[in-house]
């Protein structure tokens, strides 16, 4: 067991590694009532094509299978795992994202009993033809629910406009058609490939005893044979965007939009990725933050409202920046953003804005540490992409003005940008006038 105490953050973390390749982390939160425990596998919606670790054959599975598998793992021969969690009072759930699936619970009592249930059910799949069929109805309704969600639609449309081939553009839950193709054999195949301890981590956050957590894992871990690294097959992605503009209409009151910038500088070593991530966040604050002249101007002109915001997603296989919200004229906002970026590129970043942006980015990172779920999930995301969330706070101070100026010039480019709009179903014509 290894212990790291970060004095600047006032956080401590315990780490343990197991012979089968599993790693476990305890982020200690003294005097917290609740504890979070997450069992995560590096397997998400983008992993639809891979080389089978044993047969070495290339396998391609239906879209939405990682998410389907997540739903099905809760099923047990005698019912579902909620029966067992209910006894010990945990709130259990799971989620699937592009690159990971996380099973977790939050409890304020009986932590170790609940923890054993988590370790047990994630390691014991139970799929039958019948229970797989039943789940298609539930997931079908989940997909339909998202189809009616304008924020989800505008987001996936943007990814479709940004990417030509990268599977990040595929809806995490798949489609009503693709899930129909899923069989229990597919589920077992994906389970046996991606739910190997060497591809998984456990993160616990709360006022728990790290040694006891690690011992429980040791005892519960099913020993399994060694598995080589899983080779995932991602298609080549051109540098250009797939399309400059994508539009749809839904029952919304006002147009909703995202503008995306495709980042082609991927596959960097971890330290460089952290630095790129922080620099982009700082640059974005200086360009579009709430305290900039630019924000004030668009707001006063009625082009944006309080819902205007931005975020940067930084992964080894794909990175993109997105900015958006609601506007009566999304295309005008897009034009102004491009114009503004070019203007700042010419004039340079304002030094005072740079200093302020650094404070904001630091505050935003520190904020995450107050919430056990948030910090654990961030930790998992970061870990799977090869970086440590704790390093971020330290590195923010080391980012220089010059680095950010360089990043601005290299990254924000009209040619690799695009726009996604959801227009109001009944008002499209009047809004576009």
């Amino acid at each position: 067991m290894e212990r790291i105490y970060d004095d600047a953050l006032n956080e401590e973390i315990y780490i343990n590694s197991y012979s089968n390749g599993l790693k476990a982390f305890v982020i200690k939160k003294k005097n917290f009532s609740k504890a979070f425990a997450g069992f995560a596998t590096k397997y998400g919606s983008v992993d639809g094509k891979f080389v089978h670790p044993k047969t070495k054959e290339v396998v391609e599975v239906p879209d939405g299978i990682a998410h389907f598998l997540e739903h099905k793992l809760f099923e047990e021969e005698e019912g579902n795992v909620f029966d067992r969690f209910a006894k010990f009072g945990a709130m259990a759930n799971a989620f699937t994202s592009f690159k990971e699936t996380v099973y977790y619970f939050i409890s304020t009592q009986n932590f170790y009993e609940n923890f054993e249930i988590l370790l047990d059910f994630v390691q014991n799949p139970y799929f039958t033809d019948q229970n797989v069929e039943k789940e298609k109805g539930i997931i079908g309704q989940e997909i339909r629910m998202y189809q009616d969600n304008p924020n989800w639609r505008v987001y996936f449309n943007l990814l479709n406009a940004l990417y030509v081939n990268n599977p990040v553009k595929i809806d995490i839950a798949g489609t009503l058609e693709s899930i129909q193709k899923i069989t229990k054999e597919d589920l077992y195949l994906c389970y046996n490939t991606f739910y190997h301890p060497s591809n998984m981590i456990i993160v616990v956050c709360g006022d728990v005893d790290p040694q006891k957590v690690f011992d429980t894992i040791e005892r519960m871990e099913k020993t399994r044979e060694y598995q080589s690294l899983i080779e995932r097959i991602y298609p080549d992605e051109p540098e250009n965007v797939n399309q400059k503009k994508i539009e749809t209409s839904l029952s919304v009151a006002m147009p909703i939009f995202y503008i995306g910038f495709k980042d082609n500088q991927n596959d960097l070593p971890p330290y460089e990725m952290i630095m790129k991530d922080i620099q982009t966040q700082i640059v974005a604050e200086t360009l579009f933050g709430k305290s900039t002249d630019f924000y004030e101007m668009l707001y006063k002109e009625g082009l944006i409202n309080q819902n205007f915001g931005f975020e940067y997603n930084c992964e080894p296989e794909y990175s993109f920046f997105m900015i958006g919200g609601e506007s009566k004229d999304p295309e005008e906002v897009y034009r102004r953003i491009i114009e503004h970026v070019e203007d700042v590129k010419k004039k340079g970043i304002n030094r005072e804005e740079f200093e302020r942006a650094k404070k904001v980015v630091l505050g935003n990172h520190l904020r995450k540490f107050d919430n056990p779920e948030k910090i654990s999930v961030e930790f998992i995301y970061s870990y799977f992409k090869g970086v440590n969330i704790f390093e971020y706070v330290k590195e923010i101070a080391s980012v220089s003005f010059e680095m950010c100026e360089k990043r601005l010039r290299e990254f924000f480019d009209e040619n690799t940008s695009c726009i996604s709009v959801v227009w109001p179903a009944d008002k499209k014509n009047s809004v576009m006038e």
């Binding site: 006032n10 003294k30 005097n31 917290f32 009532s33 609740k34 579902n80 909620f82 029966d83 969690f85 209910a86 006894k87 010990f88 009072g89 945990a90 709130m91 939050i106 409890s107 304020t108 009592q109 039943k134 109805g137 539930i138 997931i139 079908g140 309704q141 989940e142 339909r144 629910m145 189809q147 009616d148 924020n151 029952s251 919304v252 009151a253 006002m254 709430k290 305290s291 900039t292 924000y295 004030e296 707001y299 006063k300 009625g302 409202n305 609601e326 302020r356 942006a357 404070k359 904001v360 980015v361 630091l362 505050g363 935003n364 520190l366 904020r367 540490f369 107050d370 056990p372 179903a425």
Partner: protein, 424 residues
């Protein structure tokens, strides 16, 4: 916990060193009435556009950014027949900022709320005009979230003509009639005469934190306002309403009169019933409508802390309306007949234990929990609420369920499908 109460000014502080972010929240309470609810939703939006101290939004945001990305938020909420108008600042713990931000944050919040009164100047015409437009869009954007929209429509139909039916953010027609003078006088009345709640969570000494807040916000005499928790309209028969919109999935919302006095001990029995019916992970609705019948992805029940009302909500295939409705109603019937498994009871009690104890780990949740307690007039801790739940037995739950009356069944479906909601 440190508490001070005088002249309808309420101060509370909760302090410990567990968090990196502190929080100050100031809430004013007004009656939720058509004459004022739109004005009350609008004035906070105008306040954060600037005043004589911080000349515009940019200056406000710069001040916040320099406080290590502190955030200022405004919120208008419905608490039964009351409207709560809140302002909150969250800011970095002194330890990480390297300076004392508490008194700065207090003064900042005070200047935002009282700037136009204290430093003169009133509201700017342009800001009012623009925020009117923003509020109009916000009200109209209710249709974006279909789950909440169906619930809101169900309540509107159920409470037609009553104040509780009003939307907390107001109404588009009333927005047009708002003048600069009307808005300013309503604003002034709220921030100087209506009950005020100043709640703080931070890494400080509690007594000191309260005294500092008091120094800034004072304890001038304010009105007292009473909440009405009852439904006040006689039940006649169940209303079935179907509406159409461009949707892929149908949304069903049931409005139930619980006939429980939510300020009495019966409230805890109702809560347990709610856990068993549709809030806990092993609830009857989740288990039977989702897991067994595979009819939906989400289904839940919810109680309003300030009204004797339960709402049940689910998203279903449009053609499954009758099937889903019958199955939902069957779950209530089962509770009326006392058909409650041990696992359902256990799951509900454990669900509440986790949910209530988790409140202690979020300054935001804790402050809003205590505000709700204060507004109901019973300040007890989350762990005491749990103690009351533990005493509830199956007979209590059965008795409460037998008081239920199904008031409204609302169904949102797509356009052009013939099947209508009808009496069952």
């Amino acid at each position: 916990m440190q508490k001070k109460e005088k002249n309808n000014n309420f101060y509370m502080a909760f302090c410990d060193d567990r968090f990196k972010i502190n929080r100050i929240a100031v809430t004013f309470i007004d009656k939720l009435e058509r004459e004022r609810n739109t004005l009350n939703a609008l004035f906070p939006m105008v306040l954060i556009r600037g005043n004589n101290k911080y000349k515009d939004m940019k200056e406000i945001n710069r001040y916040l950014d320099n406080m290590y990305g502190a955030t200022l938020s405004i919120d208008v909420d419905k608490k039964g027949d009351l409207q709560a108008i809140s302002f909150a600042v969250s800011f970095l713990n002194d330890r990480f900022a390297g300076e004392n931000l508490y008194t700065k944050a207090l003064q900042f919040l005070y200047d935002i709320i009282y700037g136009p009164v204290k430093y003169g100047g009133g509201f700017e015409e342009d800001a009012i005009l623009q925020e009117k437009n923003n509020l109009k869009q916000e009200i109209e954007s209710r249709i974006n979230d279909k789950v909440q929209y169906a619930i809101d429509r169900c309540i509107e139909i159920m409470f037609e003509g009553q104040n509780y039916a009003l939307y907390e953010k107001g109404n588009v027609d009333d927005l047009q009639t708002i003048t600069k003078e009307k808005l300013f006088s309503q604003y002034q009345e709220v921030v100087t005469k209506k009950p005020m709640y100043v709640f703080v969570y931070g890494d400080y000494d509690e007594e000191w934190a309260v005294s500092k807040a008091l120094e800034v916000f004072g304890e001038e005499k304010r009105e007292s306002i009473h909440n009405d928790f009852s439904i006040n309209i006689p039940f006649e028969k169940t209303k079935y309403v179907t509406e159409e919109m461009e949707v892929n999935q149908g949304k069903i919302a049931l409005g139930i009169r619980t006939n429980v006095d939510v300020t009495s001990e019966d409230y805890y029995k109702l809560l347990m019933l709610n856990g068993i019916l549709g809030a806990s992970p092993k609830s009857k609705l989740f288990e039977n409508v989702r897991e067994k019948a595979s009819l939906c992805y989400y289904v839940f029940s919810r109680i309003d802390r300030f009204k004797s009302v339960m709402i049940i909500s689910s998203g279903i295939e449009i053609e499954n309306y009758e099937k889903a409705l019958n199955l939902i109603l069957q779950q209530i019937e089962d509770i009326k007949n006392g058909r409650i498994d041990d696992i359902e009871y256990e799951s509900a009690i454990n669900y509440y234990k986790t949910a209530l104890m988790a409140i202690y780990d979020s300054p935001r949740d804790l402050l809003s929990f205590y505000l709700n307690q204060a507004l109901v007039g019973q300040i007890i801790e989350p762990r005491e609420v749990f103690e009351s739940l533990k005493n509830v037995n199956i007979e209590d739950i059965k008795r409460i369920a037998n008081r239920f009356e199904l008031d409204t069944v609302y169904f949102l479906k797509n356009r052009g499908v013939a099947k209508d909601g009808k009496d069952l």
